[in-house]
Amino acid sequence: MATEVYRESFERRTKTVRYIRLLEGLADTQVGPLYLGMWGALAFFSYLLCVFITAIGFGEQVGYNPIRFLRELPVLTLYPPPPSQGLRMAPLQEGGYWQLATLFLTLTLVFWTIRIWTRAVANGLRPMVPIAFSAALFLYAAIYIIHPIWVNSWNEAPPHGLRGILLWTNHFSVKYGNFYYNPFHMVSIFALLGSTVILAMHGATILATLAYGAHREIDEIEDSDEGTHRAQLLWRWVMGFNATAYSIHQWALGFATLVAVAGAIGVLLSGPAEPDWFQWGCRAGIVPGLQKACVP
């Protein structure tokens, strides 16, 4: 057991440990102990603020009527400020709530990343999980902060709300021509679907070789055993290529990281670098048919 390196002022764990009987046979049943720590406390409070501001914003829309809140929850949305406000601090009703909520959401994510980092190091692990998480953080920052600042308007950031986030996804694509023609979006989606394939392959392989103990991956990496051998041979015989217990996790991390990084680059290039991805497709010559749809 590695030693605790980070000493924190909020250093405490929950005392009770619970067990979920329902999960028996499927997964580990133990819940807790949860570690608090300074970064955990900060993340918790800033997330609480974010939720509180969002709740106030939503509450104003429904007149603080709880039944109306439930009924309209799917379409309740906190919008960013209108384009006329640019990057200014907007009045609360006109996007100020969104700005505050986004600020605290960003802080939460940053604190959470630091928290994972300190916990990983304290438990003697390499900080790979926070590094992987920071890829997602980069995508978040690209969408919510860097792109809006680059185009000089918070209005291009996604609103907060169930329908709002879907509308933004749709409309961002429509505004910049067609995101399917964005090559970085293509790479990102390729990696996203590829991640699911790799996950299914890896999960299925390990489940299939449970009886031989292939799931003890940390041990298998150092000294591979019968289960890992059979798992490797399965893929070698099926498709002529096999990863090892170690390299499959490198593939995993690589693909999953590529999703976020390529997606972030695609978002950042939209607007300043390329306002219309379909026209980019026209110039690249990849539009199917006779390129008739490329209006002059």
Binding site: P82, N155, K175
Partner: protein, 408 residues
Amino acid sequence: MSSIENDPAPPGAVAVYDEKQRTILRGELVGLVAMTILALGGVIALSMALVDWRAFQGFRAESTYNYAGIQQVDFVEYLRRNNKTLAQPSAEALQAYSAWQQKNPQTVNVQVLTQYLGPEYNTTAKVFEYMSKYFTPGVGQSCEYCHNLENFAAYDKPQKTTAKAMLIMQFELQNKWISTIPRPEGQPLYQLQCATCHYGQAQFWNSVDKNNPTLANLAKFGIAGGGNPTQYDMKHYGITLNGKPPASYEIVDDKLLAARPDAKGEVNYFQVTATKDTPPGLNDTYRNQAAMYHMNVALNVGCDFCHYGGYFKSYVLEDGTFKWPKSQSRHMVGMIQDIAINWFPQMPKVDPARGDLAQPNCWMCHRGNVVPPGAYSPGAGEVPQKVSDPQIRPLVDLPLPAPKLPQK
């Protein structure tokens, strides 16, 4: 736990463990099948119970545009679906008409029909034919609703003044917008008549059906459902009508009313795809999508009915096939703009206390059909006007010279 698992397994343990895993997998598969059946059944049940099943029967979103699968719903059939019947002149009115016709075989003071339809409308019988065939079923009222049965030529009812103005509007819109709609060869040219908008109701649809907020009614107006913006949404998108967010978004807003043709004579009411000069912000895109969803619901078609799915801005498919509906719907939005700016504001009202007339929109005539059931389908003998070159017709400059409407 690691210490236990690292121990060598006792003989037989592997087999037992394998058996347990198999049981788990079997349970998971059964649960999966049950979930799928539940989800399928749930959606089908919800759709049958809550979505208007009839609307779906005639629906096929065509990925390539042609009129092959699109039939006009018969007007009588449409009325029957809405639990209405074709209105007929009352017996009393027929009696009064025959007395009037005996007295005046030639028309007295008939102006609009002779001007727009031709000099043959100079006999009372001919005018009666037109009135009973188009006016009565279209507006759903017998002659006495507008006419003084003692004297058919008199203007002593405000309804008659309004009806005359409406008739002028019908012919003017027909000439300016409907007859000039860009269309491929062979596509039939439908015509406006009273029923095209009124659908057998004298009082306008928005004021009647909207006050009866049943689910079916509201769903048809596109008010319910996820696709329409709420008032709060409209406030943020900057959608206003007469300076304030309208109760529900129905295409006519201040931006549409203010839109004027550019130097090329084209009006880009809803253009959103960015160029190098596009100002930042997504609000115009949100407004655009609200308008598009209104058209979806009004015509009961998916977006690719008008658009090339790969690029909404384009007027052609990837193989160069011209998407007629896109230029047609632009043309039609021009008509809505024309009605909203030039016709409705000066329309003489039957009851001035009723406030402003509702704004025109796509649903007003289309009601969930590509071809409005209320549109007049020309006879086989009439050759539709041919437009062979697939150019987008520039919209006629707005505003129009003020139409000549009769004063009360």
